[in-house]
């Protein structure tokens, strides 16, 4: 890997962020930033321009922006943004909503490292549209 791909991790739980970071860094990805709420995610995306975002879709509402809203906001800013949704099981409609908004893939919590890495690899491999 010539230059490590930069990943922004968005999750309201510190524990989750750390776990995801650990899994991703072990594979050689660079964690360029972390966000704990939707609006922070949008803000950090604009600033850091990561190659990929992992985003928990259910986060505490802050400033009227939820996970879906954050996806929409990021896609509006960068239509080719690569966002992977992390969601607990059973939130199909939310996930579908996020995909409609432009998310490229999703993984379910509890996150299985293999699945997460597969998703990251796949999404990074897909051409920017």
């Amino acid at each position: 890997m010539a230059t490590a791909k930069k990943i922004l991790i968005v999750d309201d739980a510190v524990f989750m962020r750390q776990m995801l970071a650990k899994i991703l860094m072990a594979e050689g990805y660079e964690i360029c930033g972390e966000a704990s709420c939707a609006s922070e995610a949008v803000e950090k995306y604009k600033k850091l321009r990561p190659d990929l975002v992992t985003m928990d879709i259910v986060m505490p509402m802050m400033e009227e922006l939820d996970g879906i809203g954050a996806v929409k906001e990021i896609i509006r800013f960068d239509p080719s943004a690569r966002i992977i949704i992390c969601s607990v099981m059973g939130q199909q409609s939310l996930v579908i909503e996020a995909i409609r908004a432009g998310a490229k893939d999703f993984v379910t919590k509890p996150v299985q490292p293999v699945r997460l890495l597969e998703a990251v690899r796949n999404v990074l491999a897909s051409e920017k549209t």
Binding site: Q92, V95, I99, R100, R115
Partner: protein
């Protein structure tokens, strides 16, 4: 669960199952027969759905497993082996068993675990090709056949528009990972990804169903795109949790890829109907009782018409004559049509036979080529119901006693593969069903020996045993030349039962055999039991109908010719002693006059049933007529001597005599 649903469920399930068996046999002959697999899959799928609705758990479970296996086969992820075919056959048997249990309303004792384990073993055998890596794909799908055509007219017109704009059509088959979570979201993701490349013309199941997760692990999409196959495949390869995906270009019938002007012309003017490929409902299910009711009402309508005609004639109401004439024509046409609804193709029962033949042949290590000719010929469903067992018996007989094993056949200079053919044909309101085999034929010597042993014939008779005599002998109850009773034809149903069953339907059994060359049974049957030919007779003032098939002759005899044998009246008719029944006494009809005419002569109708004859004394013979048989109400059902009723042209009711019960 309500009974009415259950019955519907049962009849429908059995239909599906019969078709599945048929397809299985087809599949065994030609393992590449994809349409057979599809049909079986669809059948199983429906069966699963129905039994789940009805709450039959075992059935649902088994059907589900079978469906899984078939799905693998259908999508060519699994090679069809003879072991799998055997498993499928075995599974069908278990399904049948389960249905029987449901039918008999008893709690299920069938153990489905073994068969399910077998199916699962097949499923887990890892020969699944990961489609992702499999680059050797089928080149193109050709959609030419109308029946395979998956699009409706609206989709067709959309398709045409896209194709005329330089798009290509692709068939995309997606199979998700078994442990894929939130498959609806996954499917949506795939659909969304593909939409970036083009337009989805059709999804199977529909996009809505996909979004709601109403699919197993795989689905199909038809995509129009300007991109190449490779690009689409690449896009799909970058989506997680897909076990396999197959992208295949689709070529369409020529007229589909025509120029756009033509397209718009066609669709706007509509001069030429644009191809509509949606299957129209061609047939529907009607309860048999309803058909019977319609048939009955038809009869009554016909009678009302006759009365109207009589009135018009009696009062000479000319303006009505033409109307009555028209009415007459309409009603008879209608009657014909209604009659048709009672008819079903013989294939309805014969379809199950190939399976039986296959199983029995397997069991006995015989190689048998079984074919049915004329399965589309139609017969009254009541007759069909009744002949199913006798036919099956004859076929079993042919396999068991007729066809020799391959070695013996080879030695005899025959094709090691035996042949059994059922030929159905129709001639003038009669149906002929012929069951022929090219086996060893009936062994006259064995029959003779057995008949002598049992004292059925004398040495004298034994010398001049011909075909007819042999047939008479082998149709005697309990007569079997087979040394050992096999579980095939030695089930207690003998040829005698076959014969009496067919005769009770007003039919006949004929038989030909050539030692070493095979045997042939010919069943002659009436087209329907709803309308029969009958002789109308008077018993005092009452009219009775005697089925013509039972009548040997009508004669007039002087009462002096009647003799008594131990208080029974008998008469000698051509060397045969015939018991006499005075219908007025038997039926309890009191008349003012005696039955004999001025010269003391009696009218006798000699009827026969099986081998026995009977002389019925009647007041007078009216004549022959076609009558519509109507069932009797339950309160008179058990009346001895009466089989049913009919309504005569003048509105009077005539009872139909049941000859068998008079014997």
């Amino acid at each position: 669960m309500q009974n009415s649903y259950r019955e519907l469920f049962l009849s429908e399930s059995q239909e599906y199952l019969a078709n599945i068996s048929k397809c299985l046999v087809r599949l065994e002959k030609d393992p590449s027969d994809q349409s057979a697999i599809n049909e079986i899959f669809r059948g199983m799928h429906t069966l699963k759905g129905m039994s789940a609705t009805m709450g039959f758990e075992k059935l649902t479970q088994l059907a589900h497993q079978m469906e899984d296996l078939l799905d693998e086969l259908r999508n060519r992820r699994k090679q069809l082996t003879s072991a799998i075919i055997d498993t499928l056959f075995a599974a069908v048997d278990v399904v049948e068993q389960l249905l029987d249990e449901i039918k008999e309303n008893k709690s299920s004792t069938t153990d489905i675990i073994p068969i399910i384990e077998t199916i699962q073993r097949h499923l887990s055998e890892k020969e699944v090709i990961s489609l992702k890596e499999n680059q050797t794909q089928p080149q193109t799908i050709n959609i030419q056949e109308k029946q395979d055509f998956p699009f409706n007219s609206e989709e067709v017109s959309r398709l045409k528009t896209f194709l005329s704009q330089g798009n290509f059509l692709f068939h995309i088959f997606v199979h998700l990972n078994k442990d894929c979570v939130m498959k609806e979201a996954r499917a949506f993701l795939i659909v969304t990804a593909l939409k970036r490349l083009g337009e989805i013309i059709k999804a199977i199941p529909s996009i809505e169903d996909l979004k709601e997760g109403k699919f197993d692990l795989s689905f199909e999409l038809f995509l129009v795109s300007k991109e190449e196959q490779r690009v689409i495949r690449q896009e799909m390869a970058n989506i997680s949790e897909i076990e396999g995906v197959r992208v295949t270009p689709v070529s369409l019938p020529k007229e589909m890829v025509s120029q756009q002007q033509e397209v718009s012309q066609k669709t706007s003017v509509g001069a030429q109907p644009s191809p509509v490929y949606v299957k129209k409902i061609q047939s529907m299910r009607i309860p048999v009782e309803r058909l019977d009711k319609i048939m009955n009402l038809m009869g009554e309508l016909a009678i009302a018409k006759i009365r109207l005609a009589q009135i018009v004639q009696t009062y000479k109401i000319e303006p009505l004559e033409e109307v009555v004439f028209l009415l007459d024509r309409l009603i008879s046409t209608l009657q014909d049509e209604v009659m048709q609804t009672r008819l079903l193709p013989v294939a309805y029962i014969l379809d199950a036979f190939p399976r039986v033949v296959r199983d029995l042949a397997h069991k006995q290590n015989k190689d048998i080529d079984f074919s049915i000719v004329g399965g589309d010929i139609e017969l009254d469903r009541v007759v069909l119901d009744e002949i199913s067992d006798p036919l099956l018996h004859l076929v079993r007989n042919a396999i068991d006693h007729g066809i020799e094993d391959p070695q013996t056949r080879k030695k005899a200079g025959k094709n090691p593969r035996g042949r059994i053919v059922i030929t159905v044909s129709r001639q003038k309101g009669q149906i002929f069903i012929e069951i022929s085999d090219d086996g060893k034929g009936i062994d006259f010597k064995a029959v003779r020996k057995k008949a002598l042993e049992k004292g059925l014939i004398t040495e004298e008779e034994a010398k001049e045993l011909d075909e007819k005599k042999v047939f008479d002998l082998i149709t005697l109850p309990g007569f079997s030349t087979s040394e050992k009773v096999t579980d095939i034809s030695g089930r207690g149903v003998g040829l005698d039962v076959v014969k009496s069953k067919i005769e009770s339907l007003g039919g006949r059994v004929d038989f030909e055999t050539k030692p070493g060359q095979g045997s042939r049974f010919i069943l002659t049957l009436p087209l329907t039991l709803a309308i029969i030919k009958a002789m109308l007779v008077n018993v005092h003032h009452e009219v009775y109908a005697i089925p013509l098939m039972n009548i040997r002759e009508t004669i007039k005899v002087h009462k002096r010719e009647l003799k008594y044998v131990q208080n029974f009246e008998v008469m000698k008719v051509r060397e045969e002693v015939v018991p006499i029944i005075r219908l007025d006494r038997t039926l309890g009809i009191v008349g003012s006059s005696t039955m004999e005419d001025e010269e003391g002569r009696l009218s006798l109708v000699i009827v026969e049933y099986g081998k026995k004859a009977l002389g019925l004394v009647v007041s007078s013979v009216i004549g022959e007529q076609d009558i519509a048989v109507k069932p009797l109400g339950s309160w008179v059902k058990r009346t001895k001597g009466v089989a049913g009723a009919t309504i005569l042209g003048d509105g009077r009711v005539a009872l139909i005599l049941d000859i068998m019960s008079l014997m």
